[in-house]
Amino acid sequence: MIQTTKSPALETRGLTIRFGGHVAVNDVSCRFTPGTLTAIVGPNGAGKTTYFNLISGQLRATSGEVIVGGEDITALPASARAKKGLGRAFQLTNLFPDLTALENIRLAVQSRADAGWSLLKVWNSRRDLIEKAEDILERVRLEDRRHIAPKALSHGDQRKLEVALLLAMEPKVFMFDEPTAGMSVDEVPTVLELINDIKQRGDATVLLVEHKMDVVRSLADRIVVLHNGALVADGEPAEVIASPVVQEAYLGLEAARD
């Protein structure tokens, strides 16, 4: 395995969820260490997003544990998990549709600064939070959209804003769920660059669900393959892509076509 020296930032142990008779995620144990970008791949319905939901707390596991920085957080709600450093960007754009782009980001910055319970100050008295939000807005190249509400933004800009919210949370673990889905070709590099920036910093743990194999190849240090809810392969990209089980489970069609 690649990650032997560092202790994991995030770990799942036997993580399982059942919906009636259907096991959507089946006994997935996996460790994610700082400085590593792990791509989670698998066919549609393999349980990738469900696995994410179990980690970030949108769903409660039937059994198994989620451990962040050595602490068992399985019983915590999503908000408390976010405070523990789990940051999540969603596959389907999930923003505050009527607030401005800047306000969307400022709310994430405000949460990070634990400033939400201030009742008697005016919001704009925290100049530092606004400035930080503006910096992030620039990093995702949306500075000219600051006053536009997400419902009036293009799909690509909405995706960038989604990534901006994740950046604003300054998490220890970044979870991207198909960040480039539905983006036009010329917009994709902006997002990939941002993810690469995060990776280059070296101390971030990045989980990336992605369908595009070229993106996975260029960014991932490690690939985890889910199939029918179970972890079927885990290792270095070249090795995993070449392994027979992956060829069959996920890349089978692609390989046959080539």
Partner: protein
């Protein structure tokens, strides 16, 4: 709940704040017409004792002040937090009964009024927190139903426990000496008006209402208020960002309940009476809803406009119609149509028209016109 963006898009420039901007928590009316209307309402309410003679204008003005607080506190729930509660009159009633029971059962002094108010605030806070924590984590409709059930139960309780609450008859009581009509703080007249305890009571209500309104305006524009709006927009995402949605919603409903309790206490002080019909009744709940919607949800200033229009219509529409009916005498049907007995019909018609014409409320409409 979908609202037009004119209501929800907050100004996010941070001008170096001046005095007014600070008082208004950086949330000015953002429309000249609206500013003028609000200023006119403020000035007329401030000067009512010296502008009009007789007791009815003063009573109407006092009621407007009370309802501004009541409606603004409901807007914190409905407009800013997206919570539909039917228990708002319950908290209004608790405030009224707090004052009434304390002044009637203990003695008519400031100390007992204070005890009554504090006890009422505590009871409201506990009830609001309990309802919130038990039911705000589940579906919105369930919360609304719970508030309806609790409010009905409290209304029944208030009418059954007649030894304490006076039952259906309510409680009449004496005010502390300084608020009685017989109290004359000044030897001479002021602007041709004899200042008495009644006028002092009015100013007490006016200033408390002004203070609570500005406090609510501050709360909705605080970092906390911004979280409430985020939760209203997308509670799932707010939770994922690290905001504990249930805790924020519960806090909003406690704050709103406290403000409604203060409003109830003011109402009782003015009327020197509290009973089911003046504070607890469900028809007041519907009036509040109408005032919020007509004024403009999620704007705070809408509460001022909605409450003023509604209370004025309630108080003077009948008089106006009587005059109109007399003037049109001799013409067939018309005098019968606007006979004062039919004032509720016309009030209803006015509301339907205004909601239809201004879906974002009057404030929403005025702000849109500016853009």
């Amino acid at each position: 709940m979908s609202m037009s963006s004119a209501l929800t898009l907050p100004p996010d420039e941070t001008r170096r704040s001046g005095f007014f901007s600070r008082i208004l928590s950086s949330d000015p009316p953002r429309s000249w017409v609206l500013s003028l209307i609000l200023l006119a309402i403020l000035l007329v309410l401030a000067a009512t004792p010296f502008l009009f003679s007789g007791s009815q204008p003063l009573s109407t003005a006092a009621k407007i002040c009370v309802f501004i607080v009541l409606v603004a506190s409901y807007d914190l729930l409905l407009g800013y937090s997206g919570i539909v509660s039917f228990a708002h009159t319950m908290f209004f009633g608790i405030g009224g009964y707090g004052i009434a029971i304390a002044l009637e059962q203990i003695e008519p002094t400031w100390a007992s009024a204070g005890i009554g108010l504090v006890a009422a605030l505590a009871l409201s806070a506990v009830l609001a927190a309990a309802i919130g924590l038990l039911s705000l984590r589940v579906r919105a409709i369930f919360f609304s139903m719970i508030t309806l059930a609790v409010a009905s139960a409290v209304a029944v309780l208030a009418s059954q426990m007649s030894e304490i609450t006076g039952g259906e008859d309510g409680l009449s009581f004496q005010l502390p000496f300084e608020l009685r009509p017989a109290f004359r703080p000044l030897e001479d007249q002021l602007f041709g008006v004899t200042v008495n305890g009644r006028i002092l009571a009015y100013y007490l209500i006016f200033f408390v209402a002004l203070f609570v309104f500005l406090l609510l305006l501050r709360i909705v524009n605080s970092p906390f208020g911004r979280v409430l709006q985020a939760i209203r927009e997308n509670e799932f995402r707010a939770e994922a960002l690290g905001y504990r949605v249930v805790a924020y919603r519960t806090a909003a409903s406690v704050l709103s309940a406290l403000a409604a309790t203060v409003a109830g206490a003011l109402m009782a002080l003015w009327l020197r009476y509290n009973g089911p019909d003046t504070t607890l009744s469900f028809s007041i709940m519907i009036d509040i809803l109408l005032m919020v919607v007509i004024g403009g949800m999620g704007t705070m200033y809408g509460a001022v406009i909605g409450a003023t229009l509604f209370v004025l219509a309630q108080s003077y529409l009948q008089v106006l119609m009587a005059a109109g009916s007399e003037a049109l005498e001799g013409i067939p049907i018309l005098p019968i149509l606007i006979h004062p007995d039919r004032w509720l019909l016309w009030l209803g018609a006015l509301f339907i028209i205004s909601v239809y014409a201004f879906p974002g409320g009057i404030v929403g409409r005025l702000r849109q016109a500016k853009q």
